[in-house]
């Protein structure tokens, strides 16, 4: 028997089906995926390839039909409390102020009021929103809301970050800016990340490894190691020749799938 390196997240032969009254759709089939300790893995693929389903399984919100997902070697059965999700739409509580939104995971953990306040202020300063702690989400721009959502996840301080196209709804410029800030903070925190996106550039710029999925049913198609040094400049790295080459390869890999699918 070979000793395997302990992975943060290990997914083996995962199959997920959605059953409605008439139809049964296979969202994921035979998916193998692992995320190492402190590793940043991105999953790219066409929309509807089951990327989000993958995250739901990893978070314990969804039970697989076959195969299994392990967190630190333990089979995920229900929500574990060790993962933090960042949703595409931020999932901020509209009736709570910025301060209270970031405070939420700390309150759930049962920290004392004064500890909560200190930690919230520290995180808000980190994402540059100190002035806005009394604002409601509705009064914020898309980029600011994203910062609040990130601050909240940092407050929870999970072992594994699960991010579902978190920067998707932002405009191109804000997207780069927030991505850069996130990368800087992440490089300090150093926790494992499973990042879902459809943006190849974003995936390469952020990740240690990029996984390409094909659609219907979702399968892992290829994996690409990103051998770019860290800390890396989130924007300028795009002009690096190694980046360009990787981008071309991943693009070709995804385009193949589309031709076959005839979409």
């Amino acid at each position: 028997m070979m000793m395997k390196r302990q992975e943060k997240l290990q997914i083996d032969q995962l199959t997920v089906r959605y059953t409605t009254r008439e139809t049964s759709t296979t969202a994921l089939e035979g998916v193998d995926l692992h995320v190492g300790e402190g590793e940043f893995v991105s999953v790219v693929g066409p929309s509807g390839c089951g990327k989000s389903t993958l995250l739901k399984v990893a978070s314990g919100l969804l039970k697989p039909a076959a195969g299994e997902a392990r967190l630190d070697g333990r089979v995920i059965n229900g929500v574990t409390g060790e993962v933090g999700m960042v949703f595409q739409n931020d999932a901020l509580l509209p009736w709570k102020t910025v301060f209270d939104n970031v405070r939420l995971p700390l309150a759930v953990k049962g920290l004392s009021r004064s500890d909560q306040a200190t930690e919230v202020r520290r995180l808000l300063a980190m994402v540059g929103l100190s002035e806005f702690e009394d604002f409601y989400p509705k009064q914020l721009s898309g980029g600011m809301k994203k910062r609040v959502a990130l601050a909240r996840t940092f407050a929870y301080d999970p072992d594994l970050y699960l991010m579902d196209e978190p920067f998707g709804p932002l405009d191109a410029q804000t997207r780069v800016k927030i991505g850069e800030e996130f990368l800087k903070i992440w490089e300090k925190v150093g926790k494992s990340v499973l990042f879902i996106t459809h943006d190849i550039e974003e995936a390469i710029a952020l990740s240690d490894r990029v996984v390409v999925m094909s659609s219907r049913p979702g399968r892992i198609k290829a994996e690409f190691e990103v051998n770019l040094e860290r800390p890396r400049p989130f924007y300028e790295i795009r002009f690096d020749s190694r980046f360009k080459e990787l981008q071309r390869q991943i693009w070709n890999c995804m385009a193949e799938d589309e031709q076959k699918g005839g979409v």
Binding site: L61, G81, V83, M85, A91, P94, K96, P105, V108
Partner: protein
């Protein structure tokens, strides 16, 4: 900006007051000239009547009776309906069994239940409050039920991944989410509660605005009828304003 807002609100209120004055003025002028004032009374007569009632102490006697029935019934109906709505939304298959029966009951003209309540509980407070509850409970139930069903799934998933307790989910997500719906049902139910109270008093009572209206009608006293109607309207407007203030407090994040 503030200047423009103030001007705008001045414009709105000015328009409202002028419109009200025109309608009341037309009523006052045509009564006794175009129409026989015996049938349609007159605003001035109604005001006179109200003063008369204040002097004799009958105004508060009737208003308080109606108000008490309406408010007690409204509170009981809102709480019961909202709790049933929340409970049923989380009851799984049970909800599917019960729902058609609730809708069948809802389609019943609840006015026709008044005689039944009187047979059961007499013409006292109980039967009247029950009438109000019957009017109010369905809207409260339906809004709470729909409110629960419309909670953002992502918010609940988010709470789940944080391993939040049931109580934490209730206080951070579920209650705030349905507040909008409960306030809407409260607003709609003010009218329903007054209808219930007045109907119960029409059917059998010895005080209250409903009673005052039937009594006046028996005396062919149209001024009395209009006075009763006007007072009911005033109660509704004041209660609605209370809810509006409540909304301003609770929904300031919007």
């Amino acid at each position: 900006m503030a200047e423009a807002n103030r001007y705008r609100s001045l414009q709105v209120w000015g328009g409202r007051i002028v419109l009200g004055a025109v309608i009341l003025g037309l009523w006052e002028l045509t009564s006794g000239t175009l129409f026989n004032s015996f049938w349609i009374s007159k605003p001035s007569l109604i005001i006179e009547r109200i003063f008369e009632m204040v002097e004799r102490g009958t105004l508060w006697f009737h208003v308080s009776a109606t108000l008490q029935v309406a408010v007690v019934g409204l509170v009981i109906g809102m709480i019961a309906g909202t709790l049933i709505g929340i409970g049923l939304a989380y009851s799984g298959i049970f909800e599917r069994w019960v729902y058609p029966y609730i809708m069948a009951l809802y389609s019943l003209p609840r006015v026709s239940l008044a005689p039944l309540f009187i047979v059961w509980f007499g013409i006292g407070m109980t039967s009247k409050v029950l009438m109000v509850v019957a009017m109010v409970i369905f809207v409260a139930f339906y809004n709470a039920f729909e409110g629960i069903r419309n909670i953002d799934r992502d918010l609940l998933d988010m709470m789940k991944t944080y391993k939040a307790s049931r109580l934490q989910k209730l206080s951070w997500v579920i209650f705030p989410s349905i507040t909008v719906w409960v306030l809407t049902s409260l607003r709609l139910n003010i009218g329903m509660a007054l209808i219930g109270a007045v109907i119960a008093e029409l059917v059998g009572a010895s005080r209250g605005l409903g009673y005052y209206i039937t009594y006046s009608s028996g005396m062919l006293d149209t001024t009395g009828i209009f006075t009763g109607l006007f007072l009911i309207m005033m109660i509704a407007v004041i209660m609605e304003q209370v809810v509006v203030q409540l909304e301003r407090r609770l929904l300031k994040y919007r």
